[in-house]
Amino acid sequence: MKILIVEDEIALGQAVMEYLTREQMLCEFASNLKAAKDKLLHNSYDIIVLDIQFPDGNGVDFLEWIKMNLDRSQVILLSAQHQLETKLRGLDAGADDYITKPFDLPELSARIKAVYRRVHGNSQKKLQFNNLVIDVDALELRIEGNLVNLTKKEIQLLLFFIANKNRVVSRQAIANHLWGDYTDNLDNFDFVYQHVKNLRRKIVEAQGIDGLQTVYGIGYKMEEVVCA
């Protein structure tokens, strides 16, 4: 998966790049729209992570240019603005997803994978992880062929873990992923804890291997277990 990060804040762009590179994604970085255009004209990318405010232009306008000239690339807009109009304009202009700063890197990673999956759908409709098989469209988990009865939130949580497998995912990132748009300042961590506990119980009861570890004080990590 080839990714272009267009972000005028170099420190942020580098952090994103570093994180995504560790996820086995091929990342390139452009800090302004001109550089981004150059790269886009010479290479092709699966996904473009695009900020909105640039000294040399507006990301949404640039998005329109991308959608007109490069139909292959998917775009995830990145913005500091909570304003609905910007979001709507971005989505109207053909953005595939929209994420507001500050965001958690695991969240961005999960969104990139989701967008990628949507486009390159068929082959990856079924996600395999350890002995868990997830139907991404139907949101179903099967272990050894048996359907595991998970709630919608639990499935979302599992997908989020898998999208960030072998990485520490903070409970903050999980809370934002599960409730980000809906709640502020809730005592979300209790809920995260309970969701994780329930998910784990259900997987273990169905003889599944979750590879889930609690990382003290910060969050969780789901590890791929190499089955002998």
Partner: protein
Amino acid sequence: MRLGSKFSVGFACIALVVLLLALVISYQAVKKSTIQAHIGKLHDLNSHVGQLIATDTAAFPSERFRYTAIRPYPKADLPAGKKVRIQKVFDSTILSEVTRIEVSTVVQTRQAPMEIVSSTRYIQADSQYLTAILMVFAWIFVFLISVSLVLSTVFSMHILTPFYKTLRIISRFRVDQHETPKFDRNSTYEFRKLNEQLARMMQRSTRDYLALKEFNENASHELQTPLAIMQSKIDLLINTPLQNEQLRLLGEMQDQIARLSSVKKALTLLMQLEHYQLKRNAVDLTTYMHTALTVYQDVIELKGWELHTELAEYVTVDIDAHLLQLVVNNLMSNALKHGAGPFIKVALTPTSLVFSNPGAPPAIDTTALIPRFHYREDSGNSMGIGLSLVQKIADLQQFNFTYTFEKGLHNLTLHFF
């Protein structure tokens, strides 16, 4: 009251005062001129008699001049001119009070100075005059008023047309429009000035609005970016080999960053709401609430609580959908945060939306509602900013937002009308 009617009323008042004054003056003038006419005639009579008796006082034909008498004037110095006496006397022949006018003139005859006194009586037409004049003026008044009414209607149609046009433009004006509306050229000086000033004002507000918006966006960007960088660096850091203690510290740091960015988000929202342009649409609240509440189902269940809903059917309200989401989120978050369990009740009626949760009686007066950043010690780090947001949105939508405490329930109610 319309401007035309105001003019008419003002005009009527002035006309009434002027006409009453004119009435008094005319009445006095007519009255006076009657007396003057009598005095003039008597004076002429006296002159005539004076000439008759100038040579011989005995030649005065007293039979002919029944209203004139002559008598010797006792004093040596002769007064010039005439002396007039007016008095009311009772005339027994007609059994009525009449006005008696007496004019006396002193002339020098050959024999001696003689005083000629002529008098006459007449019936003064007091009330008759008054009635007659009053009638005349009353008719004039009626005529004036009807003319002014007709004219004011015609005038307000013609002259005020540009004014109503301006009014329409103002009412349609929105600061978030990029172009300011155009006013027509106008031949009336005042309207022209008004339009010029309005155009200038609108341009200024649009400019100010855009500047403020830009500032907000920039501020948001400037704050959000460092937060995003910090957050992403922590995400990277926790995936490096660290000891438990370090991870715990990072976790705490991350929590504080999250808190900071949620405060920032809320403040930005509050700021945006100050200049928010409503996009009202008829929203089917019943359906919306059914969907919206499912989002919280898991959280409520995880808390071991229950969600009680009483949603009236087919409730449609004119509301901005984006703001509605904010309202529901904040009210629900508030109930989840401050509620004591074991349930949250959401009731929707055609006129209101109520979130109720059991809890301890409020420490502050419920009418002193929702000060921004009100700190509740019992609830940790929570802030009243969520409710300020709801209050702000209610103001924008011209809804009423109330907080009551009844029978152990905290009720936050949004009244739509």
